[in-house]
Symmetry: C3
Subunit: 215 residues, 3 copies
């Protein structure tokens, strides 16, 4: 029997695998970037691990703690913790601060931002909550880890400061696109489309130096 790429079940598996890869890549890049903040602050190894863990899986844990449908996915599926700790240790062992690595990781972070948002949005819809809540949880899942990270290093959360580049807004865009596709029955397409839009908004807004309005 020849492999039929248009077969729905096969497509679903590809998207599920793709989502998993995007998720883990997002956890890893977030973890490395978070742990690098420990380096700047001359923290010890535990500082790297805490900041890496919080930056990598904090948003998802916040999402699942709010939805209250069992223990957070990051505590149930070992791959999330492995990705987060690998990232934190990598930041501790290798010299990643200089050179092209940070830029590469930031791009990876931007590319995967949407995967956190769409996962948060779809999980909220599955729990049976309203579309508005689904969008909010999508944003919290994408931006929440960074907020906890910034609180721990006593920095005003990046997401609240008028810095160039949209973060929460990119997550909002990803969530809204995901929501639109989900509600019209295109559940699988919703993931891919949301991720693409989130990455695009993030990358373009950073490059153009867009900022949210200040009062």
């Amino acid at each position: 029997m020849p492999l039929d790429l248009s077969e729905p079940h096969f497509q679903e598996e590809v998207i599920a695998a793709g989502t998993m890869v995007a998720d883990l890549a997002g956890v890893f890049s977030g973890s490395v970037l978070g742990a690098l903040l420990a380096e700047r602050r001359k923290m010890d190894l535990m500082g790297f691990l805490v900041l890496g863990l919080v930056s990598g899986v904090g948003g998802g844990i916040l999402r699942d703690t709010l939805l209250q449908v069992g223990p957070p996915l990051a505590l149930v599926k070992p791959s999330y913790l492995v990705a987060a700790f690998t990232g934190a240790f990598a930041a501790f062992i290798f010299e990643l601060k200089h050179g092209p690595t940070v830029k590469l990781l930031s791009t990876l972070d931007a590319l995967t931002l949407g995967s956190f948002a769409v996962a948060g949005t779809q999980r909220t819809l599955e729990v049976g909550l309203s579309p508005g809540t689904a969008v909010l949880i999508g944003i919290i899942a994408a931006a929440g880890g960074g907020v906890i990270r910034d609180v721990l290093i006593r920095r005003t959360p990046t997401v609240m400061r008028p810095e160039p580049g949209y973060y929460a807004l990119a997550a909002l865009a990803a969530s809204l696109v995901c929501l639109a596709f989900s509600l019209t029955g295109h559940r699988r397409l919703a993931l891919a489309a949301g991720m693409a839009v989130g990455a695009a908004v993030r990358l373009i807004s950073v490059r153009r130096g867009w900022r949210l309005p200040i009062k």
Copy 2:
């Protein structure tokens, strides 16, 4: 059939409606006051929204996350998020910092402080936890949002500083009164009495400049 105001079912609905109005007014006033802190700190629009949301519904979300009886009410009933975001946007759009608005909102905040406390206390009793826990959750529900708000703007939580006016103590009074009425079977009266006592303690203590003892 004439309307019988003393009919128990009717009374219950009036109190339920009154509690809902007090709750939403509390969310709204807390949200505007929280978002105004974003203005002072020159945050962008997202700062207004985060601080407004956290100040308005943070305490209730903390309550429900601790009690673990399903997703937080603020995520289930859209009216809470609507009230919080309306408050945050209002603070962003209008000039509320000066003039009588802040004073009006502070009074509204004081008047509704008790509604958070009694809701927290009664919900805890419904879950079957002890009266002591019910009072604690009442205080957390009333003061928790402000604590998260203060952590996010890197300020020592107001509730822990020797400032004039009782906040946590007003919530404690509201919770205790609510508890006393609830345990003696006057469940509906408990809400109204608790709210009234909470508002009175808050308003009088602010006017008189009362402070908690320092060691």
Copy 3:
């Protein structure tokens, strides 16, 4: 019938009682030490209570909120809140800052650090999560209260700073030992062994001034 000390059921009760005593002693010492930080910062009585409560039961509440198997134990069993508030009030009323009390409390805190870690580890295993998650939750249960406490007083969490003495690492050791005994079927021994190892690592590392590596 003579009392048979080697009878399994009797041993189990002794260990259960011992664990309870260690737990409550840990909550009490953590609460006093936390509340003393309110004194240094000239906070009012509410500051003492908040810091005492958070330091004493914050880690356990974080553990149970993450595991999502019902309301946190500290909210269900009144003895935890009693121990925490007693500690906080004691710090407010008595002069504990000077003299041998702090040293005594720090030793008590070190001795009981492991009890938080093993309780977190075993509870996670009971919920059915992986050994790696069990160790992580053990560390969070032991160190989490201190992190929230430090965030509230706007201090970089002690556990992330290169200070002399292992804290998280002592909890890690306790959790690992507990895990090893638990997985080989010695569930009761796991508690005692884990606690002993945790206390030993903490006390020795403080005395020797050991620090985690900095990058």
